[in-house]
């Protein structure tokens, strides 16, 4: 910010041969940026003081006073630092839940595969039929890895799935199914056909009117009572469906915002060209509308990625619940900070990446609009 802009305190520009920035020494920089007024000075001092207090303490807790693997829980309780031995003992339970222990390379590969597919999808050159094929093949492989039962893999029922793969699958499958559904709902809500419109409005308002937690409860507690005894659709499937229904309603409203932001002229021009409704929607309206709403869509994606942790309340061992389960070992109780920090880092990496990617995507796609 102090670079090329002409500054009021700069001498006559004619006499200056080099850029201003080089003349600003560290002291002058601090004076201008940190101590320009008395309250800025006060804030600077305050922040430096807080950092000086916090950083050594954090360093102490995180590193110098922490204990690694051979340490027992008893030894950990006696010191005043992080007990990384707890994470070393429990990371497989936290990451993979109750998946059979000697088979846990399978969920590990599944996670790697899903992440690889997500990264591949980030590249805009891949946005064509190829991507569909990649996901089709990839998800089949994930399903084989997780369920097994073929190719000599033991069958693992999905009530045993847990941890990171479960969180990722809930989020990825949920959003992948909810997204097209939400586009239909958003179009339906703006439709001129009264039945389609009222159905869409009713659905969206009904789902948005209840908390996700109550939908999950309905799916897991109420639904089985209405079905005949012995017919119990899978618990994970029920949660996944509740999740899709909820995400679709929210995304639909986000996309409707984009649809409404398109100027009337675009619709009219498309009509004037004699395009059909679907040609108009797919080729003219949606590409523009979706570009506009990238930030809120990603916002919703991030929110839903984290909302998967709500499945905890119906006893499904996602990443969050698995970390709580790790704390319920009588031997290793009480290491909350280490456990939550561990999964917070995992959640953060995913969410931060999504957020960064959406920023770059926005820049790329906006380029076309900046004439």
């Amino acid at each position: 910010m102090t670079t090329s802009a002409p500054s009021p305190i700069a001498p006559d520009s004619a006499t200056v041969s080099r850029p201003l920035v080089n003349r600003l020494g560290p002291l002058a920089w601090m004076r201008r940026n940190l101590f320009s007024t008395w309250y800025n000075a006060l804030l600077t001092v305050l922040i430096v003081w807080v950092l000086a207090q916090a950083i050594p303490a954090l360093f102490h807790w995180l590193i110098s006073n922490s204990l690694l693997a051979p340490a027992t829980s008893q030894e950990c309780r006696l010191v005043d630092g992080a007990c990384w031995a707890f994470i070393q003992e429990k990371y497989r339970l936290i990451l993979f839940g109750t998946f059979p222990y000697n088979q846990q390379w399978r969920p590990l590969f599944a996670v790697v595969l899903v992440i690889a597919m997500l990264l591949a999808s980030c590249d805009r050159r891949m946005w064509n039929r190829r991507l569909g094929v990649i996901w089709g093949v990839g998800m089949t492989m994930v399903a084989i890895l997780m369920w097994g039962g073929v190719l000599g893999l033991d069958y693992v029922e999905n009530s045993l799935w847990g941890g990171l793969p479960l969180t990722l699958l809930l989020a990825v499958v949920g959003l992948a199914v909810a997204f097209p559904l939400s586009i239909l709902l958003a179009l339906g809500r703006r439709s001129r056909l009264p039945i389609i419109k009222s159905l869409s409005v009713t659905y969206i308002e009904l789902i948005r009117g209840v908390p996700l937690i109550s939908l999950l409860f309905m799916a897991s507690v109420m639904l089985p009572l209405f079905l005949p005894v012995g017919m119990n659709p899978d618990k994970l499937l029920r949660a996944q469906i509740a999740f899709i229904m909820f995400a679709a309603a929210y995304l639909a409203e986000v996309i409707r915002g984009g649809l409404q932001a398109i100027p009337r002229g675009q619709y009219e021009a498309a009509d004037a060209l004699g395009l059909t409704y679907w040609q108009k929607t797919v080729k003219i309206i949606l590409p523009q509308a979706l570009t506009i709403v990238i930030p809120p869509i990603v916002n919703t994606f991030i929110a839903f990625f984290k909302d998967t942790s709500l499945v905890m309340i119906i006893g499904i061992f996602d990443l969050m619940n698995a970390s709580k389960a790790a704390l319920n070992d009588a031997e290793w109780r009480g290491f909350y900070r280490e456990s939550y920090l561990f999964i917070a880092v995992i959640y953060f990496v995913f969410c931060f990446f999504m957020s960064k990617y959406s920023q770059s995507l926005e820049r790329d796609l906006k380029r076309g609009h900046q004439h």
Binding site: R92, F96, T98, Y101, V229, G315, N328, Y336
Partner: protein, 341 residues
Amino acid sequence: MNAKILAAVAAAAAVGLAGGVAQAGATFDAVKAKGFVQCGVNTGLPGFSAPDSTGAWTGIDVDICRATAAAVFGDATKVKYTPLTAQQRFTALQSGEIDVLSRNTTWTLTRDTALGLNFPPTIFYDGQGFLVAKSLGIKSVKELDGAAICVQTGTTTELNLADYFRTHGLKFTPVVIEKEDEVVRTFFSGRCDAFTSDTSQLAGVRSSVAPKPEDYVVLPEVISKEPLGPAVRHGDDQWFDVVKWTIYAMLEAEEKGITSKNVDEFLTSKDPTVQRLLGITPGMGKALGVDEKWAYNVIKEVGNYSEIYERNVGSGSPLKLERGLNALWTAGGLMYAPPIR
């Protein structure tokens, strides 16, 4: 008109529910047919039910599931676990999602009747107790007159505490805190002389959160009743019997000194009770509709009551709970198995 519709809906619902119960009468047959016991457990309660580091379920509640499977199939591994939250547990049982609920459930009248559950014998008598620092030198709650006592707010624990102290003419200063971990931290920071909660929880807290567990003791008095045990749904008495007698068999085994290690030596026992229990004298298995070796399998694969108690919550576990009320009747506790004959 409206009343009529309501009545019709209610009738339909009643028929639906009754139908459900009638169908569920075949729990025992259904379990035998599918080849495993679907067991509802807690998503995580130290010592009772929690996955260990390898993701395998352990705990005293879990061992009840395993024992039931051993009685029915002769194989304690034929169990599938459904981790349940407190809200889900009764629906899961009523809807037939699980065959037996073994999730530290308190036996009460309304649950036994209106919720349509049957309670096999209690496997853990819990109740409200007190945790104090050893340095206070206190041996009984009666000595806590005038003490500051940490208690979680909004629980029956708080009411029980007030009642108990009033009845005994004692004074106390409650330190009421809402969150469990905060109340625990407050106690260990030394703000209260005692901390009151369910004794199993006190023991867990002592073993896990206390900097030095040996500096704290749980006082012997228990001032409320929390009989925890498994539950099955109404409508299949045979299944109820199997779960019930599986637990009694473990108690009987402890009484006779039969453990998973020495059970084979008892096969040559001259004691007619042992002979009936282990199926040397046949008849018991037939009466229950299971293999004559049912109790032998339970003891061999899971252990007697003392073994499952000690390894999960007792001296062999980090919780270090005393037997207390959970001792056999012969040792002054409440654990008593009717004659197996």
